[in-house]
Amino acid sequence: MFDKYIIDPASVTNTGPADAPTGFSFTTKLGYYRGLGLSMVEDLKVSVDGQPLPREAIRFDEGPGPLTLDQMETAFERRWAFGAPATLHVALAGGFPQGEHRLALQQRLRISYMPFPSFNNDEKLIRFD
């Protein structure tokens, strides 16, 4: 219902030393009409120009501090609030590539009343210099 808004394209920034970035980060909102406990965010798939980045390369932080996706599975006390931006940190040597590149995100949510998982997909063209 909110797929087209889940990546904030203006938020992409490199992380690590400026001359040798070790990754990048961007903010994302939960593509759902309510907040959700982190344990039900089953997967966050990030890709650049169609190339998926490994699950282990991703850290999620809705505020209290970064978690791996595996740690999120049992983070029963933490919730991602409706409309609230969270930060995704992605380890990628060299950081986000220079020039124009496609950044894609898929959120896979375990929604209890639905018979199947819910997928939210967004892709944004990022101009990064």
């Binding site: 087209k4 808004y5 009409y33 907040g35 344990s39 599975e73 409309g83 009343y113």
Partner: protein, 341 residues
């Protein structure tokens, strides 16, 4: 006869603007009160960022805010995360505990109607009836398409309520079950996704004739070799039934709140899809007391091509409500007494 139907809104209606940070909950309440929709339905998991931890001070702030605008709460939409764990479903005890948590917060908010998700098992709700009675909260199982009033799953809840002779368990209809015509906004989006107009016309015609959806899906998927958007549109028929509005009176004792779903209102304040023209007279005739709570769900069908204006859509729906309620009231006036010549 003056009906006792109240008009209200669900905060769900403004999800687009609230998600994007363009409206706060107070903006929504102020707008709604301004169009006479003073009964506010809340989704705590959407509208209370610290849920499930909500302090008395936060509750007092909500109440003060509502009072400032002459509004009050009407209903509380609960959720139940049976799949909170990856490895197993919640046990029955955990489900009851989660619903108890919601009943208590609902009560603390001063709300007497709780919308229960339709997938919650009737036997679990049965276990929650004692607390619902103690707190005087009505648990209304949301009758949401593709279910409908007479569906066997809904009958199970009615059976429990009857057997327990409780006034605190029943239903809560979502007006999406009364889809008389296929929504133009849905058709248009499937066409933007590549569905051919002759195929979408076939699907709309089939829906109009109330042909059972599996025939249409097979025709589109197999015989017409439909593309992805066409098959998806045909499959949407599974979720868009037209229930009989004349059954409303029979079920009226079991509900106190209605989610007045809609996908689009036209400029002349008509719903091109859902059969409010038939539903509202039935509610008035039944003498039903409760809230018609706007639930606008059109944003997801148009946001790819145009800005969403939930305020204007909700405003138009309330113009329609007023028109239809007044007309139904007038139709029930006793005929003038004939005086003997």
């Amino acid at each position: 006869m003056k009906s006792k139907i109240q008009r209200g809104v669900s905060l769900y209606s403004f999800q687009e603007e609230m998600f994007l940070g363009q409206m706060s909950v107070e903006d929504v309440v102020a707008f709604s009160a301004g169009i006479g929709a003073r009964a506010i339905e809340i989704l705590p998991e959407q509208n209370m960022p610290t849920f499930p931890n909500v302090s008395d001070a936060q509750i007092a702030q909500w109440q003060e805010m509502l009072a400032r605008h002459g509004a009050q709460f009407s209903a509380y939409d609960m959720f139940l995360d049976t799949k909170v764990r990856k490895d197993r479903l919640m046990t029955d005890e955990e489900q009851v505990a989660s619903i108890h948590r919601d009943l208590r917060l609902c009560h603390r908010l001063g709300i007497r109607n709780m919308r229960v998700l339709i997938f919650v098992r009737p036997d679990i709700l049965e276990k929650c009836v004692p607390l619902a009675e103690e707190l005087d909260v009505h648990m209304g199982v949301e009758v949401h398409a593709p279910w409908y009033l007479d569906h066997a799953w809904i009958q199970r809840t009615i059976e429990v309520a009857d057997r327990l002779r409780t006034k605190h368990l029943g239903i809560l209809p979502d007006m999406g079950i009364f889809m008389k015509h296929y929504p133009p906004v849905m058709r248009a989006r499937y066409e933007r996704q590549g569905a051919r107009p002759e195929v979408t016309q076939f699907i709309v015609d089939s829906h109009e004739q109330k042909i059972m959806c599996e025939y249409t899906i097979y025709e589109v998927a197999v015989k017409l070799q439909g593309n992805k958007a066409e098959v998806a549109m045909a499959e949407s028929l599974r979720h868009n039934p037209y229930a009989n509005p004349k059954r409303i009176g029979d079920f009226a004792p079991y509900f106190r709140h209605i989610q007045a779903k809609f996908y689009e209102m036209t400029e002349d304040c008509r719903d091109p899809s859902l059969d409010y023209e038939a539903v509202i007279p039935e509610l008035v005739k039944a003498g039903w007391e409760g809230t018609l709570s706007s639930e606008y769900e059109g944003n997801r069908w148009i946001q790819d091509v145009q800005p969403v204006d939930s305020r204007e859509q909700v405003r138009r729906q309330h113009v329609m409500f007023q028109r239809l309620i007044e007309r139904a009231e007038a139709a029930l006036q006793p005929a003038p007494q004939q005086t003997a010549a």
